[in-house]
């Protein structure tokens, strides 16, 4: 059994909570006592029906205001697969939350209200999905019951969305007509849409290929921690612990340690203290090298495949996530995997309108939720990949030097 991480996107009225509620409910993931609690709370609020959103809104302030403030993670499983849902708020002011939730998702479900078709929100979510390079996009056209399960309505929305997607560099798109409320095409094929012969949503979620999204050809292994027991029996043991971000590592592989470019050969690959034939993404492993060289946390071990970039001058698309605006010329810490270096955001090249994809130039500041393209200079070289070509090693964060908060998510290029 494997694991799929996905995010749902849509505004509150699109039925996002109902969809999550239905997936959880229909897979027996909501327990009796949890349902009872929600029922009680629904009564307290004076509502007639069970409010499934209460299941996803975990904070007092969220329940009081009836809005989702922050990303919540929900879990369910079927016989085939386990699922982690990043339930991100859909409001415009929460672009950063969507970026957060989408950053570690393999798939995004975009909800469209069948009565409204493609709206600004749909476009925004699709642009973010494309910026973050989510491998799979599932467009669920919801509330089909409200449009008499009309094939024409479905087809025209598919056409409208496809036209837009073509301009966005979105790869794998699937369309499903659903009613989250009534359960059409969620778990079981709907009799109301005999014209639809595609997968149900759950079937698609269970079968979408996640492994093929992992890059096994370019090997990246950032060192997180150096294991040196220095005990009597392991006097000379020196193992580099980290996670294989992409590719594979085998005993005998010639490797280069970046950014310094030191070369060596793999003496052994270990997973949980056992020597293994090879380690592959996304395993956590330990690599031992033949030569006794100085390697520290933050260094990246690569094999003789295409190498990552090593540079101090970086361009990146960033989503600004802090209330304090980004001002060109400010210094921050840039964290790429386990490497953290000082940097200066030299220039804001342009701001990307996440509704229209238009580029606005001559920008000197970026505010909360802005997506901007920047030029960064780092104090020492960092090892990274273009986010578009190797997602696993192309993401980074900016950290405020004094407040220590994470102020931006960066897609390096």
């Amino acid at each position: 059994m494997d694991l799929l991480r996905f995010i749902t996107a849509g505004s509150v009225d699109d039925g996002k909570s109902t969809l999550i509620g239905r997936l959880l409910y229909d897979t027996d993931s909501i327990k009796v006592d949890q349902l009872e609690t929600i029922q009680k709370q629904s009564k307290n609020k004076g509502e007639g029906e069970i409010d499934l959103a209460l299941f996803t809104d975990g904070l007092r302030a969220e329940r009081e205001q009836g809005i989702t403030i922050d990303v919540a993670y929900k879990y369910f499983a079927t016989d085939k697969r386990k699922f982690i849902i990043a339930d991100a708020p859909g409001h415009i002011q929460y672009t950063r939350n969507m970026v957060t939730g989408a950053s570690n998702s393999d798939l995004i479900i975009i909800l469209i209200d069948a009565r409204l078709g493609v709206i600004e929100q749909t476009r925004r979510h699709s642009i973010i999905a494309s910026l973050l390079q989510l491998p799979h996009v599932v467009v669920t056209i919801n509330k089909m019951d409200m449009v008499d399960y009309s094939e024409e309505v479905f087809n025209s929305i598919v056409e409208e969305y496809s036209k837009m997607a073509a301009t966005l560099n979105i790869k794998d798109v699937t369309f499903i007509p659903i009613s989250a409320l009534k359960g059409d095409n969620i778990v079981n094929p709907s009799e109301n849409t005999p014209w639809y012969t595609g997968d149900t949503l759950l079937h698609l979620l269970e079968n979408v290929d996640v492994v093929s999204d992992i890059n096994f050809s370019e090997s990246r292994f950032p060192v997180q921690y150096v294991i040196r027991p220095q005990s009597e029996d392991l006097h000379d043991y020196r193992g580099y612990a980290g996670k294989v971000l992409s590719g594979t590592y085998k005993k005998g592989d010639a490797v280069t340690v970046l950014p310094d470019g030191i070369e060596s050969v793999i003496e052994a690959v270990e997973v949980h203290g056992q020597e293994v034939e090879e380690a592959f993404a996304p395993q956590s492993a330990v690599i031992r090298l033949k030569d006794d060289i100085d390697i520290n946390r933050g260094d990246v071990i690569v094999t003789k495949t295409a190498h990552p970039k090593v540079s101090q001058d970086i361009e990146a698309t960033i989503c600004w996530m802090d209330n304090k605006p980004l001002v060109a010329g400010n210094k921050y810490l840039l964290q790429v995997q386990s490497r953290r270096v000082r940097c200066v955001v030299k220039e804001i090249n342009f701001k990307l309108d996440v509704n229209t994809l238009e580029k606005h130039e001559n920008i000197s500041e970026a505010a909360l939720n802005d997506v901007v393209h920047v030029t960064i200079k780092t104090a020492s070289p960092i090892v990274y990949d273009n986010y578009l070509s190797l997602r696993a090693n192309g993401g980074a964060i900016l950290i405020d030097e004094t407040a220590h908060t994470t102020v931006a998510g960066c897609m390096l290029n």
């Binding site: 494997d2 492994v211 203290g273 956590s284």
Partner: protein, 302 residues
């Protein structure tokens, strides 16, 4: 090329080990909170694997409420010895005396809230900058909102509105002096994952997780073990039942479940069948109010 496919337990394990190593790499003085319960037992196993063949590079810390199951304490000491990790125990009892704290009163008075005082004192005493805990997001709705690296201020407070966005697999553990980070490596595991992992790894458990006969008070739908810490009232119904524990907390506020499960396989079968959540079935303290857990966490609870 061989098929590079990992089972979900391998995926969860790889992620958790990555987090453990980030803690060791980013912090000066981390600690692992260890109660002898199944979640923190899983953490110990993950830590062992993360740093093999080296030892776990941080101590195990137990905040002892004084209301523990003796079986869990015995287990705690034995595991600490086996792993060679340093075990630090600090007692809520001592904090109560030293600070003149007022204990909860009433039928199932718990020291859950007071535990935070001892924890914060312990963090200060040893200068811990990171505390690894076994909380899972599936346990409770406020937990579902918590980051894997959860920054706490010098009062140990969690402010859900000030959480740092957590992107990709990048964790920001930068803090100021006095602050600390609570790290939850098994955030993405659900109860059944923990049990399946314990089974796969052949991890030993305290005996209270398996069926045994015990005298319990029947309180609403909960079965609370008879112990020196629980007040027995005249109208209390005391019965002998075959029970096991689904979670190990305090004897005062952790309920047992009726069970015949004597092996991990039996337990997994029972959990697969049950329609009640872990916390709903066993934790009396969570049911005080809608936001009981959120409120405790805001005050420094782990």
């Amino acid at each position: 090329m061989p098929l590079h496919k990992l089972d979900y337990l391998d995926l969860l394990e790889a992620e958790s080990i990555h987090i453990m190593r980030e803690v060791a790499g980013q912090f000066e003085r981390p600690a692992l909170l260890f109660s002898g319960g199944k979640d923190s037992i899983t953490l110990v196993q993950l830590a062992l694997k993360a740093f093999k063949p080296g030892k776990i590079p941080f101590p195990l810390v137990h905040i002892d409420t004084g209301h523990n199951f003796p079986e869990a304490l015995e287990y705690r000491d034995r595991i600490a010895e086996q792993t060679g990790a340093r075990l630090i125990v600090r007692k809520v009892e001592d904090t109560i005396k030293a600070k003149g704290l007022k204990e909860q009163t009433g039928k199932f008075a718990s020291r859950n809230a007071l535990q935070s005082y001892t924890l914060l004192d312990t963090i200060e005493e040893f200068g811990f900058d990171a505390c690894i805990g076994g909380a899972r997001r599936d346990e409770e709705k406020a937990r579902a909102k918590e980051r894997i690296f959860s920054v706490r201020d010098e009062f140990g407070q969690w402010d859900p509105k000030k959480q740092r966005p957590e992107l990709w697999n990048l964790y920001n553990g930068k803090i100021s002096k006095g602050e600390n980070v609570r790290v939850f490596p098994i955030s993405n595991w659900v109860e059944l994952d923990v049990w399946n992992y314990i089974k796969r790894e052949g991890i030993e458990l305290p005996s209270i997780y398996f069926t045994h006969e015990r005298e319990v008070i029947v309180h609403h739908e909960h079965l609370v073990a008879l112990s020196p810490f629980v007040r027995v009232d005249e109208d209390d119904v005391i019965v002998k039942k075959n029970v096991r524990y689904r979670t190990v907390g305090d004897m005062t506020c952790t309920a047992a479940v009726e069970s015949t499960a004597s092996s991990i396989d039996d337990i997994i079968a029972e959990i697969n069948k049950t329609n009640i959540s872990e916390r709903g079935e066993t934790r009396i303290d969570d049911q005080v109010s809608e936001a009981a857990m959120e409120d405790r966490k805001k005050n420094g609870y782990f």
